[in-house]
Symmetry: C2
Subunit: 338 residues, 2 copies
């Protein structure tokens, strides 16, 4: 049975894709079997993260970008990691109707994921879902997040190309540009370009870019980060000229400027390949993923080895302030190895 | 020296508090020594989480709530976990001036934390910082976050009392209310109550509350959650009547409605004590914290035990699709135990 499911997914069958993603979300063990079979078929999709605050028109932009890819005859998957996005419950009617053109298209797959159940759990589910969409043969995967919180920044960081959407007149300009977002953007899009304040937002972004872009290092979790040094770091083919982060203007509702966004995404991908950065980003993403899976497994093994009631008794001691959390960890590790 | 630092912190000295928090942020090992000494003095502060989207006037509300506590002669610490908050770089001048009354007050301590460096790392630093502020004797600790991302929801979840701030006319009403936030709110505050749309926002919130509040379970990370069952679960003293989540209205700029917010926070704390829920929340928080510390320690120990180059070689195999992440974890665990 799982073999049939993976075969169907490799053939791009939407119902099979949906079924496996649901298994991933529900943490059903058979999902791992299917994912192992799909793993060798991953690594071909261009992962594009699109993030921005609510009210920037990010979801409309995602729809228009997907349509532009379809006009180029490229297949697209959209993974919306945001409970208030048009793809899930919180949809406004206009967005739903606009999306219908896309959902009827065989070359498009749309899926939403709610950001419940803890940051790590979501990152994990997103990682696995991206593998399914990649193996299913979608040439471009658009990952849409609200991007205001760290876990959403972490999700969008896994993409090859990161687009940050801004809009004029959303509170003050400085507030709209989240710290941590500026550093990871490969492309800025100022949407709602018909707004009279658009020039101010564009120049605010350009000024911040000129003030110096801090290159984003590997994602760190819980204070320990996995060493990802490659024994033979890829050499830049194009002489290593850095990517100049462009600030583009769009009106997603009319589609204006969207073709330029799609062209710029393609240019960025070419840059990643030519500079060797694609390999570096892929390696970092896999190391992060390995760390997540490893931490879950280590904790599970430790809990399995503990004598009954041991954990509960140690939490009692924490509550009574007889142990600090750091002392409690030492006791737990000792108990588990005895 | 560290003894002097903890003594100064226990005496509420601001410079000592600031020094230890900086050590925590920089992950300096001596911070753990000081934290161990402070641990027995924690558990007295009322932790109040205040969260809301940018533009809700959440930061002004936090200032006014702090001032109201000062009028009651209660000491207050403010921990702002949001890079765009008035307490850090992204401040607008008006907010800075407004905060000056507070920073000069010996009974108020204000600290901001940037949400960089990964979700888990931040949660950890926040947990430890809350312990410092608690041990320093602040009666109320206000934890301010933007609350749009899962990691910020996780941070605010550690509070005893959770306030969600909304404002009328911020995009559509449904979008402003993030999934996952509704379930954890103990008090809703609709700020900017002079806005003509305030009635619509209040009734939208009330309707959503009537539709059924999902009680928030223990925070789950990475698919494994620590069992927190107490051998003797605390019995509700007041017959276990549930807390009715109130929807309050404020105008933070004029201070209107803020006294009611402060009174309601006190009522909620009384409810937590009477119902036994305070003990449950404290236990859950400590179990979550134990899990975070444990996962870091487990990973660190594993990495220490690995032969040189082993990790790098396994990441190579991941990159080349010769191993899946799940297979890679099994290999790493085997290598570390041999």
């Amino acid at each position: 049975m799982p073999e049939t499911l993976t075969k169907q997914i490799l053939a791009g069958k939407k119902r099979a894709i949906a079924r496996l993603i649901t298994q991933i979300e529900n943490r059903q063990p058979q999902a791992q079997t299917a994912l192992s079979q799909l793993y060798a078929h991953t690594g071909r999709a261009h992962l594009v993260g699109i993030t921005g605050a609510p009210g920037t028109g990010k979801s409309s932009l995602v729809s228009e970008v997907a349509k532009a890819y379809r006009r180029q005859d490229k297949t697209v998957a959209i993974l919306a990691v945001d409970p208030s996005s048009p793809f899930s419950g919180g949809a406004v009617l206009g967005d739903r109707i606009r999306m219908q053109d896309l959902t009827r298209d065989a070359g498009v797959y749309i899926r939403s994921m709610a950001s419940r159940g803890g940051a790590g759990g979501l990152t994990w589910a997103v990682d696995d879902t991206l593998k399914v969409l990649d193996a299913a043969g979608f040439e471009v995967v658009l990952i849409e997040t609200v991007g205001a919180g760290q876990s959403e920044v972490d999700i969008v960081k896994t993409a090859h190309t990161i687009i940050v959407v801004e809009a004029p007149g959303l509170g003050d300009d400085i507030q709209a540009i989240k710290a941590g977002i500026l550093e990871i953007a490969d492309i800025f899009v100022v949407n709602k370009a018909d707004n009279p304040n658009v020039a101010r937002t564009v120049s605010a972004l350009q000024q911040m870019l000129e003030l110096g872009r801090v290159p984003g290092g590997p994602v760190r979790h819980h204070g320990v980060s996995m060493p990802v040094d490659s024994p033979s770091p890829p050499k830049p083919v194009d002489g290593g000229s850095p990517w100049q982060v462009p600030v583009l203007k769009t009106m997603a509702l009319s589609g204006e400027g969207v073709e330029v966004v799609v062209d710029t995404i393609a240019q960025h991908y070419q840059h990643l390949q030519a500079s060797g950065e694609l390999a570096v980003r892929n390696r970092t993403r896999l190391a992060d993923e390995l760390q997540t899976v490893l931490q879950v497994e280590l904790l599970r093994r430790l809990l399995d080895r503990l004598p009954p009631h041991c954990l509960s008794e140690i939490i009692d001691k924490l509550v009574d302030k007889n142990l600090t959390p750091y002392e409690a960890v030492q006791v737990l590790l000792k108990e588990a190895t005895e």
